[in-house]
Symmetry: C2
Subunit: 335 residues, 2 copies
């Protein structure tokens, strides 16, 4: 920066004793400039503190150098921190790769979200989007592919035919770890508390349920596993588990598809039998920690970095085959 | 959009039968164009579906039409959802005002953060920044003012001389509501669990503590209020409150400066006396809800909208006097 304000292309050119066009060439087509001139211009850039304008670079490169991600409306809140960590990871990995991270407020529905993404990409505000909360009846991936919009999903393409870049956490491994932990504690009647649709179609819930079933079967306990379903609401989960614990099939432990469900299960367990029923949650939120429950932790920071990684490679090679990456979670056990 | 791709300035001009410069004038200096021509161009814009490129608009207006906000590193996590709601509110209010919201990953320290903000503003990626987590020894506001960077803080200018735009939540009202609630429950020995520095200098903690003291005094209970301090860590808070409850001054209730402290206080209360000691938290996080604790809720969505409001007015009138807005919280009481 000079006394008269930020350095410009012109002041760099004057400093280096070359034309404005030469400075521009050094920045955009360095191969077109002879090495000694290039050196002189780069030195002038360093000495003047010149930084190219982002909008100018965007126009020149026809790229926004930015990706967009949805800021969620508050829902149950308990698992919201997963996204908080995701935002930080995207911003951090984005900075390392010259990509800004733009937030867009969660629109009313999928159609409105697709329109929002179109607008961001069409106006040059973003080059790509990171989709969150994907599901089997998700219309966003197909629409984005049709429009040729670059994207990476946090979540598998659950049953969709056309492949795209995605990163996901292997939920089945997570509930498998939960079962192993309960077996280590001497539990044998290990129930599952899942969501209403788990098992109906490929989904996050289906995978988490599968991990529980397979781990029970591996332990020779796959005979007549007990399970109960609830919407992702602590009060509903509490009622469902209270009925289960009052019945003949009462389990000695419960693996849950979320910490919200685990909160309800924990309340029902405390009400029915003190702490005789062990509850394991999913997402390792502060709520699980506060209740002293073990819970499956998703490596969110890793997921965010991998999403940026896939997008960066996609920008470099738009036609490379779609890639999916599944990362394993770990189990957080309270001390 | 036409069959041959997105509409451009040229295709709009051809459609309207005017020059490219005329279309540009309609967009940037509508007063320079005769009304009938303006109408014709606007109709052509609507018919072709033309949307001006954001980078071009940024260059033309010398504005990024974007603001930056920090994505926090994960800390204790319990109160993180406050920021999650803040991001959504900023994105929503920003969209309503033609402002994008950019995230930057929390840098190592304040100096690095100032450099990051400089870079964002200097390169034209953002016009302004929303500062979070302000404190009395915060160097960011003075540096940003020196550089002429537009900003609005979520948090008061705690003891800083030079004024700037800010929005904050009145924590003293919050702890006052907590005391009223406890008085309604018949509690009389109402202690305070705060942070180590509360009361030393103007800060969030000082204000929360003041609200508790003043409410006790108003109720004629200001004689020898009992208080205890702890770093914002549940285990440390549990130890501090356990000592307090074992002593002669044992309170019948505790107002806490955060839900993290409230978690520790709750654990100590349960261990010492069942549920005889009532604990009230601050931030109304899912942890407080899960434990069945009342907690003070900050109107985060409102704060985000007001920050955008102040920034929008600042862009319009750069020289208007700095403005501070203090909004009241409410108390969330579990059903």
């Amino acid at each position: 920066m000079t006394a008269s304000g930020p350095a410009t292309l012109d002041s760099v050119a004057a400093h280096a004793g070359v034309s404005r066009q030469t400075v521009s060439n050094v920045l955009r087509h360095p191969d077109r400039v002879a090495a000694p001139t290039r050196e002189r211009v780069l030195a002038a850039i360093a000495e003047t503190g010149y930084r190219p304008s982002l909008p100018a670079r965007q126009l020149a490169t026809r790229r926004a150098h930015a990706i967009a991600v949805r800021a969620e409306r508050q829902q149950d809140g308990i698992s919201g921190l997963v996204l908080d960590a995701f935002y930080h990871g995207l911003a951090e990995a984005g900075q390392d790769n010259g990509l800004r991270v733009l937030l867009y407020a969660q629109p009313e529905d999928e159609a409105a979200e697709i329109a929002t993404i179109d607008e961001l990409v069409h106006t040059g505000a973003a080059d790509a989007v990171v989709l969150t909360a994907t599901s089997a009846d998700d219309e966003r991936p197909a629409h984005l592919r049709e429009r040729g919009t670059t994207f990476c999903a946090f979540g598998r393409p659950w049953g969709h035919d056309e492949p795209h870049d995605w990163v996901d956490v292997d939920g089945a491994i997570g509930t498998g770890l939960a079962v192993s932990h309960l077996l280590d504690l001497g539990r044998r009647r290990i129930a599952y508390l899942g969501w209403p649709d788990d098992g109906e179609q490929p989904s996050t819930g289906t995978e988490r349920r599968r991990g529980w079933r397979e781990a029970l079967a591996s332990a020779g306990l796959g005979g007549a596993p007990v399970e109960v379903r609830s919407t992702n609401d602590a009060a509903a989960a509490e009622s469902a588990v209270a009925r289960l614990l009052a019945g003949r099939d009462a389990p000695d432990s419960i693996v849950c598809a979320s910490d919200t469900l685990a909160l309800g299960a924990h309340r029902a367990a405390v009400a029915s039998s003190g702490d005789q029923v062990t509850v394991v949650g999913f997402d390792a939120t502060p709520v699980a920690a506060a209740l002293g429950l073990a819970s499956v932790a998703q490596p969110i920071d890793q997921v965010a970095h991998l999403c940026i990684d896939l997008l960066t490679r996609r920008f470099e090679k738009p036609l490379r085959p779609a890639q999916g990456l599944l990362v394993p979670p770990v189990l957080h056990v309270p001390r």
